[in-house]
Assembly symmetry: C2
Homo-oligomer: 545 residues x 2
């Protein structure tokens, strides 16, 4: 529409046959350039229209719903739908996804016009590293699973061996695929690629659901051990000795598989959003990373990480002991440590928010899909921790918070809610503020071009003249560095198996077992994802300030 | 950034002191006008930055999580958290929301600068009418509740009477508020208004959760009647005669309260999105509504509606009978009728999609937040029906689909999935196609301004010369009209209480009762909302074509 009008204007002007054509044409070209830049900045991506993303969306919804129905019915009705049915469904999905990935890697991505742009913000290092780490641990889980179920082959379905084999192959395929292609903005076969990506996305989500369910069932079985061993003895016994050990081992590795599926889903989703997108290469600001100005934050953070690791190891050792006294002591120390960490974080985040108020800046005004997605993921994944904390809170308050463990549990839930709320605010505000070097660049550009001073001068001198950062910026960086390290230790503890939610039994008694298990098993993986995502986002805030 | 550059250009040009200033200035003004128009079209709303929407979001999440925890624990643990606790929480929320609404209506909306713009797309007639209808029925429910619990006052908590009273007042308040203010784009006290709106939103969602839970518990109690009456007799008996009748009555009215909360949530969400938005008044195209060209679609649709109503009444009469034979017959007729309706809809949607392929058009390229929201709501609410159908499908297939009722149930689930997928495609594609009158207007404008013909001529003549719509457009309108009426009957049946999901017990046996109840009670209200929303969207597609 705009271009039509411009064309018309052009034609009209040509007709008028003005005398001095040259400056006008230059001016005109300049304006067109400006408009195009504005245009491309405004709609950085070609928004996928109508039917383009619709087909892939419909496929995704259908697979997800069918998967959800199958997984839940295999959990609730063990007679008609056995885990074997579920696994056959999963094998089909995994094979289909691998076929598409093979097609993509061999055909689509090889062609010249296929990937013209790369989205530099997609697939950041932390996501890729997490993917490989969790992928390796999931692979280990599959090995243990195969070893276990081989022992049952003489009396159980061979599908139980086939599924981990297919999944192990899939892990390699998908990790390779996402490592090399997660930044692609595909321009060719867009419809097929979109459908393939939603197939991958829904496969990962169904695998995630299945893993959550399997872990819950196994945990339940090990709680009601007598029943389970009776049932097992009657029906089918393992043919080799190491069976029980392997079973124990892969049970502890489920959380990593759950995390792997979440990571892969996030990356696939970003790829799906990027299909057909045209990336503007000019809008990148380089951020410098230097640590020399900060000291208190990193040191305090490192101390916290070391202390946290020590407590974590002590906790893991003591919590498995038979002695109830020792278990309670381990819980006590773990609760206190966590409350201390989270309180310190809340305090420093509050300081950061006060600094924001003192050091007001412009907001970044352009629309940035990656940032919106980042913020969305941050808020959405924080819901996981929120829901666990609130359920914990209600249970403890309702039972009157008797005993020091319950009081500590309550306090932990409250400070966690406060901390996550504050931290979300801090990160999102930080990501939306104008970065300091952009302000400097703008200010300098402005200075070069014009001499109309007065009003603006103050702002410019404040930022561009002083090379050494002001105390406000220094404090902000200290806060960022401290929060970053604190989030790392809060990530390590639940990710490597500290689950006070199950070791401290107040909530299990209050809600029934199934419900509390469902809440923790759905909420906690998101909580772990939240910590990793927060680390990455805090790093970005650190660089911008 | 752009304006800065323009300013600089302006200053530079002033310095150069060109000779013929006038034409250049005019040109310049024109370009600025163009850029501003482009600018305002591109960012129709001021996207709320960083902290602005964050606080309200945090409030919303916290209330929702706390509400979720309270509601579920009052359902799962009847000892520590009774319905009285939940109702006290709800009363607090309702009173707070009413206070804010009062503040908004008395203070904020009275000021001159408060509401400069109205979003004409927000709060459409169907949403408002639905709100009032469901509001009245919810009010009736509250009256019955009050009458019932007054009878228990001598031995039960007075909170049980207070809650429906407060809710009845709230219904009037909120319906009045949404009726008059749902289109406001608030510009004053934006932060407070955002927080107030998310408070309203989360209150409605918590009320929704509470209503779903209460209905499930009552349904469960009436299933295991002996246990419930024993418990009731031991503890507390009603002091007046009509108690049981009232109880029965308000039990049947729960679905309307659930719908009311969903409607109010949708409207509040749109208001929240509109806070601080600046609406462009120029971009409105008037659509004409005329029916004279269509005949087959409306007539077939009306026949379907009448037939559906007859079957629905027969179903409601027969399903309550003691005789199992008659109940099965009612189910049989209901299933067959639904399958016929849904198959016809699929068929006509397929015809519509083929016409889309034949009559290719440009897509509307501007970003429109209301349309995105419409599409999002459509897809999200369709998930409700999807999940019920898939769970039904898995249960029926797994049990081998024995007996004609199970076969029909299976067939119904399959055709529903197909129909909703196709209909979503049809509606979304229809909303994204360039409307016919815009194309005509564009074509005419183009014709007036330029004589460069040839290539474009074909397109223009195709649309603007023929006043009578082509056969393709006519068929599309027939399809829209038919689908619209069919969606109305599919809305009426579940909204007014046809629940074959519970009358046909295959799924209840397959999943356990609690789970199937949760699925239907969460999925069905969204399914009902989907039908109403589809009717509205189809009407828009009808007008555009």
């Amino acid at each position: 529409q705009l271009f039509e009008t411009l064309l018309l204007l052009n034609v009209m002007r040509m007709k008028r046959k003005t005398h001095n054509c040259l400056p006008e044409i230059i001016l005109f070209a300049l304006q067109i350039y400006l408009i195009i830049r504005r245009f491309s900045a405004c709609r950085l991506e070609r928004t996928p229209q109508g039917g383009e993303w619709l087909l892939s969306g419909i496929i995704c919804i259908n697979i997800l719903m069918l998967g959800c129905a199958l997984v839940s019915s295999s959990a609730f009705n063990v007679v008609a739908i056995t885990p074997v049915h579920r696994q056959i469904f999963l094998i089909t999905l995994l094979v289909l996804t691998m076929l598409w990935m093979l097609f993509y890697m061999v055909v689509t991505s090889r062609e010249d016009r296929a990937v013209l742009f790369k989205d530099r913000h997609a697939g950041p290092v932390w996501l890729k590293a997490g993917l490989v780490l969790f992928g390796l641990l999931s692979f280990l889980m599959d090995i243990f699973k195969i070893a276990t179920y081989v022992g049952y082959l003489h009396c159980d379905s061979p599908v139980k061996v086939a599924y981990p084999i297919v999944q192990a192959v899939f892990l390699f395929f998908q990790t390779y695929f996402l490592w090399f292609h997660s930044r692609d903005c595909v321009q060719l076969h867009t419809n097929l690629t979109r459908c393939g990506l939603t197939l991958t996305l829904s496969t990962n989500l169904v695998v995630w659901m299945a893993a959550v369910t399997e872990e819950s069932i196994q945990r339940y079985d090990s709680c009601t051990e007598v029943l389970s061993s009776n049932y097992g003895a009657k029906k089918c016994t393992c043919s080799h000795m190491a069976c029980e050990t392997f079973k124990e081992a892969f049970y502890y590795l489920y959380p990593f598989n759950i995390e792997y599926s979440l990571f892969a889903s996030a990356m696939t989703y970003i790829m799906w959003k990027n299909v057909g997108r045209i990336v503007d290469h000019h809008k990148h600001h380089k951020f410098n990373f230097y640590v020399k100005d900060v000291f208190v934050g990193p040191v305090a953070g490192l101390l916290l990480v070391v202390a946290g690791l020590v407590i974590f190891v002590l906790y893991k050792i003591n919590i498995l002991k038979e002695d109830k006294e020792k278990r309670n002591k381990a819980l006590l120390i773990h609760f206190i440590m966590n409350i201390v960490i989270v309180s310190l974080m809340s305090l420093s985040t509050m300081i950061g928010c006060i600094i924001y108020r003192l050091d007001r800046r412009e907001y970044v005004s352009d629309k940035n899909p990656t940032r919106s997605l980042d913020v969305g993921l941050l808020v959405a994944s924080s819901l996981g921790q929120f829901i666990i904390s609130y359920f914990s809170l209600v249970a403890t308050v309702a039972t009157g918070a008797q005993g020091y463990l319950n009081v500590l549990n309550l306090a932990w839930a409250v400070v966690l809610v406060v901390e996550i709320g504050l931290q979300n605010y801090f990160i999102i505000e930080g990501l939306h503020r104008q970065p300091i070097n952009v302000m400097q660049a703008n200010a300098r550009a402005f200075q070069d071009h014009t001499e109309m001073a007065n009003d603006v001068e103050g702002q410019i001198s404040r930022y561009s003249i002083s090379k050494k950062p002001s105390w406000k910026r220094r404090v902000l960086r200290e806060v960022c560095a401290f929060l970053l390290l604190a989030n790392i230790i809060l990530w390590i503890m639940p990710a490597f198996g500290a689950r006070p939610q199950f070791d401290h039994s107040a909530e299990i008694y209050f809600y029934n077992y199934t419900m509390w298990n469902a809440i923790v098993n759905i909420g906690l993986p998101f909580g772990i994802f939240y910590r990793m995502h927060a680390v990455a986002s805090l790093f970005e805030v650190y660089l911008r300030d």
